[in-house]
């Protein structure tokens, strides 16, 4: 028996965690690098060991939400050869939000790890 029943939409823990951290991971990927959509998905595939892989199409709703909050911006670039690409870059407020989210994540993961890995904590 798995814990999937705990999640109302039928998702599992990994899905829920992925949903929660993708925004901040994508912001991190854009920190210091402007990237196009396919590049972002490819990076998620390669750096996450499969845990952060998503279907390419579902990247865009995340990008739209980040952009509507002013955390990222985009521009088109047409190379001399090849197809035009839409590049995304982190904004100043995006960088500030990223820093804040990293602090929250570090504190949160440390707390949860402490509880889950330390049997004494529950006694």
């Amino acid at each position: 028996m798995t814990l999937d029943i705990w999640y109302s939409d039928g998702g599992c823990l990994e899905t829920e965690l992925k949903r929660g951290v993708l925004n901040v991971v994508i912001l991190k990927l854009l920190q210091g690098h402007q990237r196009y959509g396919y590049e972002i998905v490819s990076h998620l595939d390669s750096i996450g060991g499969g845990h952060l892989s998503i279907k390419d199409g579902t990247l865009y709703p995340i990008l739209y939400r980040l952009e509507s909050k002013g955390l990222i911006s985009h521009h088109w670039e047409a190379p001399e050869r090849g197809v035009p690409r839409k590049y995304y870059a982190i904004t100043e407020s995006g960088a500030a939000e990223l820093s804040r989210q990293i602090d929250i994540w570090n504190e949160f993961s440390e707390t949860v790890s402490g509880i889950l890995n330390d049997g004494e904590a529950m006694s």
């Binding site: 396919y38 865009y60 709703p61 035009p84």
Partner: protein, 231 residues
Amino acid sequence: MSNIDKFIESVLRKLPADFENRDRIAADLREHYEVMISDGVASEQAITRLGDPSDLVRELVSGYTPTSASVLERYAAFMVDAIIYLPIVLLVQCPSSLWCNLTSRHISLAFLPFYLFFLIRLIPEIVWGSSLGKFLFGLRVQGLNGSRVKIYQVIVRNVSWYYWIMWIIDGSGLLFTKGKKRLSDFVAGTVVVKDKSRKTPYWMQALGWIIALIQTYLLMLGIRFISDFIL
């Protein structure tokens, strides 16, 4: 039609009618696909990588709330639909109910407009989501989550047209409800939205406004005629 065209069309068709940014979504998906192809990914594989259109739409509409079309346009659309209905209501239904005890003959006459209305409004709404009037103004009925409207919802939201007093009460919801909806739209769980999935030609809207204005004028004449007749 290419694979990516089919994919994009499938996504756009599943989106709620009033969903914004359709052009942007189409352009982004096309760019993503073309970059994959230029990177050596096979067309079929690229489409598979994009995922299931339904999953993509589910993510896109997360947090979506429908926006009611303007009351003025919905009124004008109703006036177009009522081109047959309204004169019969004014000439037959109102007077017969106001100054007669309803006999069986009056009842069949009084409810005649409803049967006509059923044909010219309900059937197109069930089949296409838009009656003739709504079509001219680029409006569409949909569920609150953007889903295609169901038969029972169309019937519930139109049942008040059965009798003229009922639709006055029903329409009062436009004045005081959030989202400017008829009361029956609340009961049916429906909303009339601006259909952004298709472009409505200006001549069509102009034609709609002309019909609506003439109908409004006739309505006012009819009300005056009835009030003179009764008083």
